[in-house]
Symmetry: C2
Subunit: 341 residues, 2 copies
């Protein structure tokens, strides 16, 4: 079933059918309606490829996700998807799985498929990969903090500042022996979080103990293993700051396994404020990150460029969203206001 069938059936040329499809205003009402009816009846859909061959627009954007089973990334992804779907676009979700090779391979696929643009969520791809995209003149937007983002469109939160807030809160509550578990991924963001942790301690004149700072896999398991090491130290920390709620969940599990109480023996602070963080016990104090919003803003930015807003294209925009400390029980807040949240 192709455009010629329709044309023949309507007794017109293919050009006219094509016009009905693309510029209906240029077709006489009567002819148009006749053709539209036939299209309706036969459930004809123009061939996607033939169309793309002419237009070179695909109505598709790429969406690179570090790990598809991590709710943090999926919430951002959903923000992107929401906007894309509303705009009639489809988002091709690519699961990098923290694997450079897989990421690269997906990127190639996206280029091959001529996507109209790409959103990268906390990507581990390197600068020169992005250059490839620049060459092909395909617009991209970065969500999450990255290295060397000059000239790029970015949506993120200030991780270093957020980390400072978290650590400061622990200090304010009387904890001085503060350990930290930071995830291997996303690399750049976690570097900033570590910097925030260290700077805050330094500013208070507290020593930075090397054995208190551990890199772990960004997962529940990673948090479990890391926290286990921390609590088994001769002088274990009184509090643990983590770079993600998942790590915090694992840490809490390890602490409980040691028959220690949270927060009485060890306080825990997470990062992200995913839905589960107030369902664990005790409810987790954490940094609230506007994940969904980041996705929405990122997607909007991308579409601004795709839809040819010169302005957007030329002036790389950086959108910085706010984080908020969400105080719950796990940090042992003095006033014990946990249940309010």
């Amino acid at each position: 079933m192709n455009i010629r069938h329709i044309a023949k059936q309507a007794g017109v040329s293919v050009a006219t059918v094509s016009r009905v499809l693309n510029h209906p205003e240029n077709v006489a009402r009567k002819t148009r309606e006749r053709i539209e009816k036939i299209i309706e009846e036969t459930e004809y859909t123009p061939n996607w490829f033939a169309r793309g061959l002419n237009f070179n627009k695909t109505g598709t954007i790429g969406l690179m996700i570090p790990h598809i089973l991590n709710p943090v990334y999926m919430e951002i992804a959903k923000g992107v998807e929401d906007v894309a779907h509303q705009k009639g676009y489809i988002a091709l979700m690519c699961n990098e799985e923290n694997d450079g090779k897989k990421g690269k391979s997906y990127l190639e696929q996206l280029l091959k498929r001529r996507v109209d643009g790409i959103v990268f969520i906390c990507s581990s791809l390197e600068e020169r990969d992005f250059d490839l995209l620049e060459e092909q003149n395909i617009p991209i937007v970065l969500i999450g903090e990255h290295k060397n983002t000059t000239g790029q469109h970015v949506v993120s939160v200030d991780c270093q500042q957020a980390a400072k807030k978290a650590v400061k809160h622990l200090l304010d509550n009387g904890y001085e022996q503060i350990g930290m578990l930071y995830g291997t991924e996303p690399k750049v963001e976690n570097e900033y979080k570590v910097a925030g942790y260290q700077k805050t301690l330094k500013k208070m004149g507290l020593p930075i103990r090397k054995e208190f700072l551990r890199e772990v896999d960004n997962s529940i398991e990673g948090g479990y293993l890391g926290a286990k090491k921390l609590v088994e130290l001769k002088e274990p920390p009184q509090a643990i700051f983590t770079t993600s709620d998942y790590i915090a969940f694992g840490a809490m599990d390890a602490i409980k396994d040691k028959s220690l109480r949270i927060p009485e023996d060890v306080a825990v602070v997470g990062f992200d404020n995913i839905r589960m963080s107030n369902l664990v016990e005790p409810k987790l104090t954490t940094i609230e990150v506007p994940l969904h919003k980041m996705g929405v803003y990122g997607a909007r930015l991308l579409f601004d460029i795709i839809e040819g807003e010169e302005e957007a294209e030329e002036n790389p925009r950086t959108i910085l969203l706010q984080t908020k400390l969400k105080v719950r029980k796990s940090c042992g807040h003095k006033e014990r206001i946990g249940e309010m949240f």
Copy 2:
């Protein structure tokens, strides 16, 4: 940059370049290598659309997901994605969001884009939607239990039997007043689970109390609200069976909010065994479902058909995987063996 540029640069015809791309064995080694080098240097990639126009194969499969933020579905999805990526295919993930309209709209997109096949995860689409696909002769595989699956390829677990196992376990532990919260979605599966619950009670000669059976949104919030109603009854149930871990989490939260103890005052059993289910407190007794495996099997089945295994195409296969009762603390197992798991 197109095939003609390459041809000219190499001093051959476009046909030869095309051959290098598609049937390299039919090209003289010397010519081939020369052309390959030029392709390499110029970073030429064949136009995706032109290619599709000839082949009518897209290297893309559709993947319909009821809700992208639900880890249950995402784990299945990951199984599909794993297989697809390994096969060099890309999976177009479509977030139905329990919204028939959105699902329909995505389905149209998939057809327009001429995907080579579609995997439906617990889809809410109706039979006549599938007929549309049959007409277009596009292979599909269903994951999860569906209505009227005659003639379809299906991968699922026996939900009714699993529910029976769960309820029986509660009965074995001395609970007779058992309530149930079942999610609105996925519809068919939950109907089976309800049937399992009712049959088990009936078989034991226990009354089925209408006020003990509540339909709720399949989410943490839904579970919270539903459980609240249950525990506020004059004669509240001693145990609650839920159709998903998410509902169970919400239920546990509601029970705790009432200052009731789990499992002493109310026992809870979930369904799915998602990663978080042994991080809540108490750890959740639940039905283990091989989610990832379901995705993998579903995808394999689809590719068998796509790759033209006549046999697969003709004889609709139904793969039934096993569930397992995962006993933890929340069900108040007599021997208190929770920590073993």
